[in-house]
């Protein structure tokens, strides 16, 4: 047991690639009349160069909040109450708006949740794209059109979209416009918030494919938010699992799917429907607690089947269980470690 190092914090992880984005102890809360909702609580992770990190969890667990916090755009009454967000090593939490402009969209862009509401209904697509370019660059008028058409081409949009209004486009096309918008300034990090959730299954796959192509071509890093575990498995390099505002496990996608360590991750992966076998849906006892009133100790204690007394007293930290692999459950970490010592944990 003593060989297990459970004290390694997430940011000390051994890693070869450069970290383009680091989130450290991020805490966001929404101040409501009936108490503060802790929508992101002590969230820490990093994003390596050219990597896609999946962020999964049931709705309401704080995925969008985390994404918006990274963009410094948390919707009121929310605010960032603690932590750091570093882009290429520089913290951007609390810097003035004028400084933020140097990062937003040029370094860090967003493919928003719900493309339907993310395009201004009264402005032509070409104008919306041009606005984003002109806000950051002095571009000659004659260069604007070729540049926008090139972006259309990158995301698989026909040229006629140039002169159209949003209502003339289908859902998939709107989503492509949003993808094109996110890459107008060649950012180094793109956050995609459930980019395919509102689309039907076929369009979903096609749009996901487009995102992957764009990512490959530009060499950007991405955070891919979603709750479709199947899609995540095919797209991302690492997965981060959130539960009730906290990160419960983060690790390489293959390892996570083969040997999920945290009980909640196990639940999520078991819930992936399979055609080969019919299995009863597993429903855990006990509902998620009220986010305004987080319990002492582990966040997952009400739903965990392995819950012990110690879980209810002391909150777990992030324990390292492998390369780039961390879990916020002491027992899970110990189990994983002992399996690895026995040679049973090699993915």
């Amino acid at each position: 047991m003593s060989t297990i190092n459970t004290e390694n914090l997430i940011l000390d992880a051994p890693t070869d690639a450069k970290k383009v984005l680091e989130v450290e102890n991020l805490r966001v809360q929404y101040d409501t009349p009936r108490g503060a909702v802790r929508a992101a609580d002590d969230v820490s992770f990093y994003l390596k160069e050219k990597e896609i990190l999946g962020l999964v969890g049931e709705s309401g667990c704080g995925k969008t909040t985390t994404a918006m916090a990274i963009l410094q755009m948390v919707q009121s009454p929310g605010r960032i109450v603690g932590g750091q967000i570093r882009i290429n090593g520089r913290n951007i939490v609390g810097i003035p708006e004028s400084e933020l402009r140097k990062y937003r969209w040029t370094e860090l862009s967003l493919i928003p949740q719900g493309a339907m509401n993310s395009l201004n209904p009264v402005i032509k697509i070409k104008e919306q794209m041009a606005d984003a370019i002109r806000a950051h660059e002095n571009i000659k008028k004659k260069d604007l059109k070729p540049r926008i058409l090139k972006l259309f081409n990158d995301v698989g949009l026909p040229e006629r979209v140039y002169n159209m209004y949003p209502h003339e486009l289908s859902g998939g096309m709107k989503q492509r416009v949003c993808i094109a918008m996110s890459i107008v300034l060649n950012p180094s990090v793109i956050i995609a918030d459930e980019p395919t959730s509102a689309l039907d299954v076929v369009v979903q796959r096609v749009v996901a494919q487009t995102i992957l192509e764009v990512k490959e071509r530009l060499g950007v890093s991405m955070i891919m938010i979603g709750h479709d575990m199947g899609l995540q498995a095919q797209m991302v390099d690492r997965v981060a699992v959130m539960y009730a505002g906290r990160l419960v496990e983060i690790g390489p996608v293959m390892k996570m799917f083969k040997n999920p360590t945290h009980p909640y991750t196990q639940l999520l992966i078991e819930a992936i429907p399979s055609i080969k076998e019919k299995k009863p849906l597993k429903v855990t006892e006990g509902l998620t607690h009220d986010l305004r009133n987080t319990p002492e100790g582990c966040i997952y204690q009400f739903r965990c089947e392995h819950v012990e007394d110690s879980c209810c007293n002391e909150p777990p930290r992030m324990y390292q269980v492998g390369i780039d692999h961390f879990v916020s459950c002491r027992h899970a970490a110990e189990r994983a470690r002992s399996m690895e010592l026995l040679g049973g944990y090699h993915g």
Partner: protein, 294 residues
């Protein structure tokens, strides 16, 4: 599927083709044209005192064709008076409403955009002005200033025409700024001025149009009330001054219906059509009011 789409964007479903709105706007255009074209076809010099015989009834009550709508006790031709009065009333309404709307746009967007104490101050002022009985204050003001021309009267009316637009713009900005596309515009670097006028303003046009028509008819009503009370500029005939003179000359008792009724009829037509425009615009802006579309 494809069929349905074509149907949805059928031109007949264009919200601007709202019956009430179209009827209202056509009547207003007719009335304005009457005032503007009238001076080409009719001698407006006849609107001045002593230019015509006195107390002639309209032509269908035994008057003369030279004065088809009759004349009043100061020797003015009624038709000429109406031709001069209508544009002047519209001018007051337009000036007051546009000044009020401009102020409302600036104040409302400041309040909605910056919030905090800016919002608190502007909102309190607007609420305070709304509760003031406009006509009473106007009477007091008019009693102190002799209003020489319609423009100065319009400006005084504008002092009461800004709270409505301010409130509307403020609430629109508050609601729009949380919309996805406005947040996206902020993220992608649009500056506050562009956000307000390029991104938000076009989305609130129906509300602004409804508020501006409401304000025009409000200002016309205010101006007419003052004039009818004898507190307006008296040199140029206006709908209110005609009513005032008819009243001081006891036209009602003397049975000179052709004197007091035409300006009232014109006012009724103007207010009804503005009301139609406003409700039409309301339906355009709020699809829920539109009812089932066949």
């Amino acid at each position: 599927m494809e069929q349905k789409k074509v149907r949805r964007w059928n031109t007949w479903d264009n919200p601007w083709l709202n019956t009430k709105f179209l009827i209202g706007i056509s009547i207003v255009i007719l009335v304005v044209l009457f005032g503007l074209l009238g001076r080409i076809f009719w001698n407006v010099e006849l609107a001045y005192v002593g230019s015509s015989p006195l107390n002639l009834p309209p032509v269908w009550q035994g008057g003369v064709p030279e004065h088809p709508l009759g004349t009043e006790s100061n020797g003015r031709d009624m038709l000429a008076q109406l031709i001069v009065a209508i544009p002047s009333s519209f001018k007051v309404g337009l000036i007051a409403a546009s000044v009020g709307m401009t102020a409302g746009l600036v104040l409302g967007s400041l309040a909605g955009y910056f919030g905090g104490w800016v919002d608190a101050v502007i909102r309190t002022l607007a609420d305070a002005v709304v509760t003031i009985p406009t006509l009473a204050v106007l009477i007091v003001i008019a009693a102190f200033f002799t209003m020489r021309d319609t423009t100065s009267m319009a400006l005084i009316l504008a002092m009461f025409a800004w709270p409505g637009p301010t409130r509307i713009v403020r609430s629109q900005v508050l609601s729009l700024r949380e919309r996805g596309y406005i947040r996206m515009a902020v993220l992608s670097g649009e500056r506050p001025f562009g956000l307000m006028f390029r991104e938000m303003l076009p989305n609130m046009l129906p509300w602004i149009a409804a508020s501006i028509t409401g304000n025009i008819s409000g200002a016309i009503l205010g101006a007419t009330s003052l004039e009818a009370l004898g507190l307006g500029p008296t040199r140029v005939p206006s709908l209110g001054t005609i009513i005032n003179q008819a009243q001081t000359s006891s036209a009602l008792i003397r049975g000179m219906v052709w004197w007091w009724f035409p300006p009232i009829l014109v006012l009724m037509i103007i207010f009804t059509s503005f009301f139609l425009i406003t409700t039409g615009l309301d339906e355009i802006a709020n699809p829920r009011l539109r009812g089932l579309n066949k």
